[in-house]
Amino acid sequence: MKKLRQFFTDTLNQITLGRKWLIIPMALAVLALAYFSYLSLAFSGTRCTWGQAQHGEVTDAQSDCYACHKKVTPKIAQDWNESKHGMLLVKCYVCHGLPDGKGAVPFSAKPDAKVACQRCHAPAIERMYTKFGVREGCNSCHGFHTNSLHHDAYAKSVSKQKAE
C-alpha cells in the first residue's frame, strides 16, 4: 500500500516538476470529472436498468403477455399493438422468449437482433449488409415497436419520417 502511495506522489511530482501551479487546474479537472461521472452514473441515462430487470413468476391465468403489459407498460404495449409487428400479431414471445427462460427462444428484454430478426427478415438483412455493410442491431432505424402500420393510417412509418 505504501509503495503505491509513493508511486502516486512520485508520478505527480514528476509531472508538476517546477510547475506547481499546474496542480490547481489538474485538481479542478479531476474534481469536475468526478462530479460529472457521479452525475451520469448515479442518475444514468433513461434509468431503465434492463440488465438487472428480472421477470417474476407467471401463472397460466396471466399467460397473455399483452393483457398484463397493456397495464404495466402501457406505452410499450400500445406501441407494439399499433406497430406492424402488433398488427401482424408477431407476439412478444417470438422475439423476447418466455419469462421463465424455458422456451425455445432465449428470454431477453432486449433480444439479439442478429438472431431474432433473422428468422423472418433474413433476405432484408442480407440486402442491408450488401448495401451498407455491417451495422449494429436493426432497432436504431427500424423500431421493433414503432414501425407503424396503423397509427399513421398506413402513411409513412415513423422510421421513414425520422430519416427525412
Binding site: 391465468a61 422468449g97 428468422r119 423472418c120
Partner: protein
C-alpha cells in the same frame, strides 16, 4: 434512490462485466448457426410458406423463411417456432398395439400383420363397403394419392374421405359448380395488384398471417386500396378494414345477394363480360335449369339493401357502400375461408362470391379473382387434386360418372367397369357407420376424435369393440390415440420427402432434412407394406418411395385439366414451388387460369379472351341462390350463437403447436369470448368461468370479455384437447358438399 458509494462502485463493476457479456452474446449465437439449410414448406396452414430448415449435427436447429418462395422469407410466429415441434420428445417411436385396453409397444411385423389380417377378414366377411380410409390435408400428395389408389383401385372401396371434408368441401363445391373445375383461378400475386379486398368469413390475420401481411403491405403502399371485412367478430383482420360489416352469423347469403342487387341497380355490372362469359342457372326440383339475366334480376329484386340489412343487422348504407367499393375498384380480390365453408349453405355462399366477380367482370385478371383460402398445408394439392374424397377420382373426376371411371380404369390398367360405381361415405357418415357397417378404418395424419363436429356422438362409435382402428401418427398425445387398436409411428414433416400443394395451386417439395426418431417410418412405406400384406395387386403399387409415386401421379395429371406434367422432381428440387397447370418442363407455371395467353389449357388461338373450359358451354355459371338460415338458430332456450375457430398461436387440434413452450404458455386452455354488453347482463367478468350448454353437451371455459364478438355471439377456439369445444358443435351438413356447420350453433351462456 438510496445507494451508498460502495454499492455504486459495485454496480459499476457489475455493469462493466455485463457490457462485455453483451458483446459475447453475438459471437456465441453466431457459432450456433446451422451447417446446412434444406428447403421445405411450413407444416402448418394452407398458405404454404417456403421455409429453410437449418440442420446442425443431424437435428433441426432453426427454421427461417425461404426468400425465393411467395412468402419472401417471412414466417408467422408458428412457422418461426417450428423447430421445437420437430424436436419434441413427445414423439411416437415404435408401433403400438392395444392389448387389454392399453396400447403396448409392438414390433413392425406384429402391427402390420395384425392390421392387414383385420382388414382382410373384414373384406372377406362384409365386403369392400366395410373398410374405410380417413385421410388428411396434412398428408403428402404422394401419401394421399397412394392411399386413394390402394382403397379405390386395390380394395374396390370408395370409403376414402379425409378431413378436407371438414374444411374445403364447400369451396370445392363452389368452384366446381361455378367454373366446372376445382381450385382458384388466381394466385397470391393478385394481392399485389388488387385495389379492393373483400374478405368474408375469414380471419386472415390469425389464420393466414403471411397473406395478411402481404395485403397489409399492399394497403400501406397505396392508401387508395380499400378493404371490406365481413365478419361477426371484430377480429384483428377487421383492424385494417375500411368497412367492417359485423353481420349476424349465417346471413351472408342475403348480404351478397343484396350487393349483387345494388351492383345491377347502380349499373356497376360489366354487361360485356357477363353477356359473353356467363350463363345463369338455378336449381329447380334438384336439377340445374338455364335462366336468363332477366330472371336473375327478378330474383335479386327481392334482396333490397334494406331487406338484407334487417336480416344481417348491419346498416343498409354499409351494404350499398360495400357493393360500390367492390364494383368500382379497378381490381377486386375476394378472400374467404371457414366462415363460408363450414356452413350448411357453404356451397351456395361460395357461389355467391363467384357471382359478384362474374357480374362485375372482376375475374381472371391481375388482381381480380375470387380466392378461397385453405386451412391445411396440403388439402389442395394432396386431397382435392388427387381426388382422395368419397365422391372423387384423381384429376377432378367423379365416381358417379361412368366415363370418368372408365378413364381411370384405363390409366390404372384395370379391367373396364371394375371400379366401384357407388360413391363412398363422406366423413360424418363414415364415422356414424363405424362399428356398424364400417368395421375397419385406417386414419392417416389427422386427429378426428377432436376435430369432428358433435364429437361425442362419433367417439361413442370409436369406442365400439366391433370396429378396428389403425392410425398412422407422429405424436403420442393425439386425442384419437385413445381409441386406436394399432398405432404406426410416422416420420414427420422434413423427416421424409414429398410434395405439398398450397392454396394457390403451388406445388413445392419438402426435402428430407433429418432422420426420423426411433423406428418411425415414412407413411408412404407404411401404406405400401400394409397394401402388400392386404393382398393388393403388386402391379398397382410398383413403388419404392414417394418419388416413384410422384412420377406416376405427374403422368396421370397430364390427362386432366390439373396438368403438371412439367413439374419433375428435379425441377421441384431446384425451384421453390411451381403453380399448375404446368404441362411441359419449360413451362413457368400458371398465374391466371381460364385466360388466353396465361393458361396453357386455353388454346392460343381460342376466339375469346376467357374460356371456362370446365363447363361444357365454356361459360361460368352464375347461380340464383336464395338466402337460407343456419341449421340451428338461437331460441329462447339457447339464445346465443356459438362460433368456433382458431387463434394465431395454436393450429387446429394443437398436437403440434402445444409442443412449443411459448405457444403452450400463451394459450394454455381454451376460452370463450363474450361481448361486453352480454357479459354485463349476465354478470360475467373477465376471467370468470362461463358455462356453455348446447343440445349436445356443455363445457366450462374462462371468459374473455370484450368487443370482439357482436352481441349475441360467443366464440371459442377448438385447439384444447382438455376442453373439446367440438362436443358442442352441430353436425348438420351441407347438402351438396357434406361439410358440417361448425360455425353456427345455438348455445346457452351462464356464469359457472
Amino acid at each position: 434512490m438510496g445507494c451508498t458509494r460502495r454499492e455504486f462502485i459495485k454496480y459499476s463493476a457489475a455493469m462493466a462485466a455485463l457490457t462485455f457479456l453483451g458483446y459475447g452474446c453475438g459471437r456465441k449465437e453466431a457459432e450456433a448457426t446451422p451447417d446446412t439449410w434444406v428447403k421445405g414448406v411450413c407444416r402448418f396452414c394452407g398458405t404454404g410458406c417456403g421455409v429453410m430448415v437449418g440442420v446442425r449435427n443431424g437435428k433441426v436447429a432453426m427454421v427461417k423463411g425461404d426468400p425465393n418462395n411467395h412468402n419472401k422469407g417471412m414466417l408467422c410466429l408458428k412457422g418461426a417456432l417450428l423447430a421445437s415441434v420437430i424436436n419434441s420428445p413427445d414423439r411416437l417411436t415404435t408401433p403400438l398395439i392395444r392389448k387389454g385396453g392399453t396400447l403396448v409397444k409392438a414390433t413392425w411385423e406384429e402391427a402390420l400383420d395384425l392390421t392387414a389380417t383385420r382388414f382382410k377378414q373384414t373384406l372377406e366377411q362384409f365386403g369392400p363397403k366395410a373398410v374405410a380410409y380417413y385421410g388428411s390435408g396434412q398428408a403428402l400428395t404422394e401419401e394421399s394419392y397412394l392411399a386413394n389408389k390402394i382403397f379405390k383401385a386395390g380394395l374396390k372401396s370408395n370409403n376414402v374421405d379425409g378431413n378436407p371434408r371438414l374444411c374445403m368441401a364447400s369451396a370445392v363445391g363452389g368452384y366446381v359448380s361455378t367454373f366446372g373445375k376445382d381450385e382458384p383461378m388466381g394466385s397470391y400475386e393478385d394481392m399485389d395488384s388488387a385495389n379492393c379486398f373483400f374478405i368474408i368469413g375469414s380471419n386472415t390475420s390469425e389464420c393466414h398471417p403471411i397473406l395478411f401481411r402481404r395485403l397489409a403491405a399492399r394497403k400501406q403502399s397505396d392508401p387508395s386500396v380499400k378493404i371490406i371485412v365481413v365478419d361477426p367478430r371484430l377480429t384483428n383482420t377487421a383492424r385494417i378494414a375500411d368497412l367492417h360489416l359485423p353481420v349476424v352469423p349465417g346471413t351472408d347469403l342475403a348480404l351478397m345477394n343484396a350487393m349483387a342487387h345494388v351492383i345491377f341497380n347502380e349499373e356497376l355490372d360489366d354487361s360485356k363480360f357477363h353477356g359473353k362469359y356467363v350463363s345463369f342457372k338455378a336449381m329447380v326440383d334438384g336439377k340445374p335449369v338455364e335462366k336468363s339475366l332477366e330472371d336473375y334480376r327478378t330474383f335479386l329484386a327481392d334482396y333490397t339493401p334494406e331487406k338484407a340489412a334487417a336480416i344481417c343487422s348491419v346498416p343498409a348504407e354499409s351494404i350499398v357502400q360495400a357493393a360500390k367499393l367492390f364494383a368500382n375498384s379497378s381490381a377486386t380480390m375476394s378472400l374467404w375461408c371457414m366462415g363460408l365453408n363450414q356452413r350448411i349453405q357453404g356451397v351456395w355462399a361460395n357461389n355467391l362470391v363467384h357471382n359478384l366477380h362474374l357480374i362485375t367482370g372482376k375475374i381472371c385478371k391481375p388482381g381480380s379473382t375470387s380466392f378461397s383460402l385453405t386451412g391445411q398445408p396440403n388439402a389442395c394439392g394432396g386431397v382435392r387434386d388427387t381426388g382422395s374424397l368419397a365422391h372423387l377420382l384423381p384429376g377432378g373426376r367423379l365416381i358417379a360418372n361412368q366415363e370418368h371411371r372408365n378413364q381411370m380404369e384405363e390409366i390404372w390398367g384395370l379391367p373396364k367397369d371394375s371400379l366401384n360405381p357407388a360413391p363412398g361415405l363422406f366423413t360424418t357418415a363414415m364415422f356414424a357407420a363405424l362399428g356398424d357397417t364400417v368395421r375397419a378404418m385406417l386414419v392417416l395424419c389427422t386427429n378426428p376424435a377432436q376435430s369432428l363436429p358433435n364429437v361425442k356422438k362419433y367417439t361413442a362409435n370409436l369406442k365400439k369393440s366391433t370396429k378396428f382402428l389403425a392410425i398412422i401418427e407422429a405424436f403420442a398425445d393425439a386425442e384419437t390415440l385413445k381409441y386406436a387398436d394399432v398405432v404406426f409411428p410416422a416420420a414427420f414433416w422434413c423427416e421424409r420427402e414429398g410434395v405439398y400443394g398450397s392454396g394457390e395451386r403451388r406445388y413445392c417439395l419438402i426435402e428430407k432434412a433429418v432422420a426420423s426418431p426411433g423406428e418411425a417410418r415414412p407413411s408412404v412405406n407404411i401404406l405400401l407394406d400394409l397394401a402388400t400384406r392386404m393382398g393388393v395387386d403388386p402391379k398397382l403399387i410398383p413403388f419404392k418411395n414417394s418419388a416413384d409415386i410422384w412420377e406416376e401421379w405427374r403422368e396421370i395429371s397430364a390427362k386432366s385439366a390439373y396438368n403438371f406434367k412439367g413439374m419433375t422432381r428435379e425441377r421441384l428440387r431446384k425451384t421453390s414451388g411451381l403453380l399448375w397447370p404446368c404441362p411441359t418442363e419449360d413451362h413457368p407455371g400458371t398465374k391466371i387460369r381460364y385466360s388466353r395467353g396465361d393458361d396453357p389449357m386455353v388454346p392460343a388461338d381460342h376466339p375469346d379472351k376467357y374460356f371456362f373450359y370446365g363447363n361444357p358451354n365454356g361459360r361460368a355459371n352464375v347461380w340464383l341462390r336464395p338466402h337460407k338460415p343456419a341449421a340451428e338458430l338461437p331460441d329462447a332456450e339457447y339464445p346465443f350463437i356459438l362460433t368456433t375457430g382458431r387463434v394465431i398461436d395454436q393450429w387446429h387440434t394443437g398436437t403440434m403447436t402445444n409442443k412449443v413452450p411459448e405457444i403452450r404458455k400463451a394459450f394454455p386452455a381454451a376460452f370463450v369470448e363474450v361481448n361486453q354488453e352480454d357479459a354485463k347482463r349476465l354478470g360475467i367478468a373477465n376471467g370468470d368461468n362461463v358455462r356453455l350448454d348446447t343440445r349436445r353437451g356443455s363445457l366450462v371455459l374462462s371468459a374473455r370479455v370484450g368487443e370482439v364478438c357482436r352481441p349475441g355471439l360467443v366464440f371459442a377456439p377448438f385447439y384444447d384437447a382438455q376442453k373439446l369445444v367440438n362436443e358442442l358443435t352441430v353436425d348438420a351438413v351441407d347438402e351438396a358438399s357434406k361439410q358440417p356447420e361448425f360455425k353456427i350453433c345455438a348455445v346457452r351462456v351462464s356464469k359457472a
